[in-house]
């Protein structure tokens, strides 16, 4: 803080407000230290992110290479290779596949969630701030979509248009966009009655400015928490889709797909389904705990 004061007494540094915003973001993130749950969640999430980034360095083998199939965890094959988590039905190393599988989920879950948020926020802002027909049409459309069980939606959409990366993201946008819109709309309805919105209106600001600058930043708290939770849901969804055979095509490792391929051997070789499930659960748990932690600190401040 001291430093800023010095800035001021001297000359104006144009970048300082951006720098300040960054500092504030870091500072508020540092608050997470006070929440044990949040730190546990952060640890899990960061752990998986690091694993995904450094996958080629960590993974003991090529995830697509075939060794001896059906090895149990800790077993050694005829050439003396050690498989900590065993191998699958066509002899690929489970550990390496899990490590590389993290990449796929950590790219697609945030990408899909972020896209769904973009759509949901735009819809929510329009419905909440513009009101009137915008509100009626957008909410009704949202209600119709929300009235389908999401899994049915996924199966229908991806079954029809095919399982490609873009289609999966689009399906997730369609299924979770309306839910996000509802949250945003509720927040906007509250915020638009504030006096600073009236102040902006009386100085003739455009609707776009009011929605993006005056309203949206003040809805960020609940939205960040929800985004974190939703990341968990989307991770599960991607897993489910892969399990149902609607995921991205093999042979790239995919946690949900691994469970699907190994499910017939589940009784004889439980490790082949168990480890991918643990991977999915731990990442989802991480997101959920992080969301809880964020909510805890946001309530405290």
């Amino acid at each position: 803080m001291k430093k800023n004061n010095e800035n001021l007494s001297g000359k104006i540094v144009p970048a300082s407000s951006v720098g300040l915003a960054f500092k504030r973001a870091v500072k508020s993130f540092a608050l997470l230290k006070e929440s044990r749950i949040g730190m546990a969640g952060l640890f899990l999430v960061v752990l998986w992110i690091l694993i995904a980034i450094f996958a080629p360095l960590i993974a003991p083998y090529d995830p697509l290479a075939n060794f001896q199939p059906f090895l149990k965890p800790g077993m050694v094959d005829s050439k003396g290779n050690l498989f900590l988590l065993g191998t699958d039905q066509i002899g690929r190393d489970m550990l390496s596949r899990l490590i590389f599988g993290a990449r796929r989920v950590l790219i697609f879950a945030p990408l899909a969630t972020f896209s769904a948020y973009l759509v949901g926020i735009v819809m929510g802002l329009l419905a909440g701030y513009r009101g009137g027909w915008w509100d009626i049409v957008l909410t009704r459309v949202g209600d119709v979509i929300l009235s389908f069980p999401p899994i049915v939606l996924y199966i229908v959409i991806i079954g029809v248009v095919g399982a490609t990366a873009i289609n999966i993201v689009a399906a997730i946008i369609l299924a979770s966009g309306p839910g996000i819109m509802r949250i945003v709309r509720g927040l906007v309805l509250d915020i638009r009655t504030r006096e600073y919105i009236a102040a902006a209106e009386t100085r003739g600001e455009s609707d776009l400015f009011i929605m993006l600058v005056e309203i949206l930043p003040n809805a960020r708290g609940p939205l960040i928490v929800d985004a974190c939770l939703r990341l968990g849901f989307v991770t599960i969804t991607i897993g489910i889709l892969a399990f149902l055979g609607l995921g991205l095509p093999p042979p790239e490792p995919d946690w949900g797909g691994m469970v699907n391929e190994a499910r017939v051997f589940a009784l004889a070789f439980p490790h082949m389904t168990l480890f991918p499930c643990i991977a999915i659960s731990s990442l989802v748990l991480g997101f959920n705990l992080l969301a809880d932690g964020l909510r805890e600190i946001s309530l405290r401040d």
Binding site: L8, S9, S17, E195, V213, N218
Partner: protein
Amino acid sequence: MTIDYNETVLEIEGLCLSYFIRAGEVPAVVDFDLKLHRGEAVGLVGESGCGKSTVANAIMQYMGNTGAIVKGKVKFMGNDMSEMSGEQIRQIRGKEIAMVYQEPMAALNPSLSIATQMTEVLVFHEGAAIHDAYERSLNMLRDVHIPDPERLMESYPHQISGGQQQRVVIAMALLLNPSLLLLDEPTTALDVTVEAGIVELIAELSSKFGTSLLYISHNLGLMLEVCDRIAVMYSGEVVEEGSVESIFSNPKHPYTHGLFGCIPMLHTDKNAHPLVAIPGQLPLPHERPQGCYFGPRCHSFKGAVCDAEEISMSKIGGEDRNHRVRCPRWEEIKKDDSINRVVAKKPIDTGSTVLEVENMQKYYVMHDNSLGALMTGKRVKYVKANEQINFRAAQGETVAIVGESGCGKSTFAKVLVGLETVTKGEVRLEGVDIGSMPVKSRSPELLSSLQMIFQNPNDTLNPSLSVGMQIGRVIKRFGLESDPAKIKDRVLQLLDSIKMPRDSYFRMPRQLSGGQKQRVGIARAFAGQPKTVIADEPISALDVSVAAAVTEVLMDMQRNYATTLLFISHDLSTVRYLSDRIVVMYLGQIMERGTTSEVFSPPYHPYTEALLSAVPIADLSVEKRRIVLEGTLPSPLDPPRGCPFSTRCFRKVGNICDEELPPVQFAADRHAIACHIPLEELEAVEPVIKLPDRDENVHRDV
């Protein structure tokens, strides 16, 4: 029943109370003494954060998970409360010590009828039979002057008005005839005319039942009407205590002096005697200075004396033996020290008419889709927010719009800035009719010439943008400057003129206090150099000393820019202090309008008369005639057919008041009164407020 008035009901000795939070120990109340006899009313006065509510909670032995008594004793009827068991304390709460809170709606359970809530008290504490309990509750409601108590007993809290809710809460508190009644800002959430009724009721009840009162408020004027003795608190400690007469006529502590300097008294006036705000801010509990906590803000501060060891209370002697003050230099400090430092300011020259409102009307349309409405065909209802509004404001003039909640004054402000449009009539700003021009279709010049200051300090600034960005945006938006460096220069100049440090440029709103936020709101409104500014209750949410500072900032800004100011308020004493003209509104209509002196002296409209009487005045020398209004504000959905005030008027002349709209009578050129009573009769009315002799007045001022 004979009442022994010498019996001590409550005795607090050297009470020190702290909250223990993550950051450590926060001393909330320090060295607090109090002795309360039976039937006595003691007032605790102070600004928010001074620990007055904490004291009340400590008496109830309710301090939550984090609070604890560190030192000292609370003795109730001679027994130390800290030695009582939980069960004993539960018996005392409600039965012996009752509490009335600020928000009546929050104190009543919204899902139970009044009867259920009231009888429950008697059944729980005394095991009374339901039937008896009902009878006694009914009688108690009569004692608090509730009309038609039988009907009210069956109502739910949301069905009755705020004033009635508070009466029910008081009745409930008094049901078990407690020895001590704690009132924590009981009238702050209520309108002035309703407040006057409650205050009268409280005074009446305490003498009737011999209940001792501890009355907590920030309003010195109310203290004068309710209490026998008062204690002034500052930053967790009592700085001065004594009888009401002694403290009002002979205040000793510089903080008490400061408080009096902050209240718009009848002898203050915005030009000759501006308000004197107390400089600085209340220190945070862990940042209190050594010695006198008020030291850093005191203009009589003297090193080595004031910042030495702890300062204890000293008796001042004189008529009131118990008048004590916590100031080492009280003998040297005179009250006038602060008042004499006032510099008279030049009045603004008023120019030509800027704003003209003619026969303005604003109705809100409501669609009623109930079955009954469908059958009768009356599906559209009108909320008559404004009806027949007429007035003019000249350049540089301050016009106050006064009225209680629901009188349509905020709707009027919204119409002016274009957030709503008129239903009928014209609003002309410099000759241009803007009444039916929504904000979207107004030109940037028009927008910049009419800006608004809002009421709620926590809501007026965008919490996500820094102060500098919010003010700078206005300058950029209205095209006063486009170069970022020049914009910043202007913002810094504005910060200077609202007396804020320049480094607040980078501050976020949550880092500012309520008064500072409100100042930034003022700067934002003036940043576009508007010709007219509308201020909607800009100081009603602020503490006394903060309000004084903000008022002065507002006045200075107005002076600098020669702006026309429309000041919307419910507080007549502030209005009297700062406005040139006053418009009194009731239920969407103008009851009276004229210059300030015209409105404050006969002929009055009866409603103005009641309003004037309801304003608490913190001045012993002023005599006031008491008028307490009966009844409640009618719904604007279904206003009376004749005069809107007819349902509560105490000068009603007959059926004509209910049937016909009153004519507008002119007592002077622009002094209009809408009333059926002939002007001569209104002229003959005795003044509500009597000032002491002029000589005496002058003497006191000097």
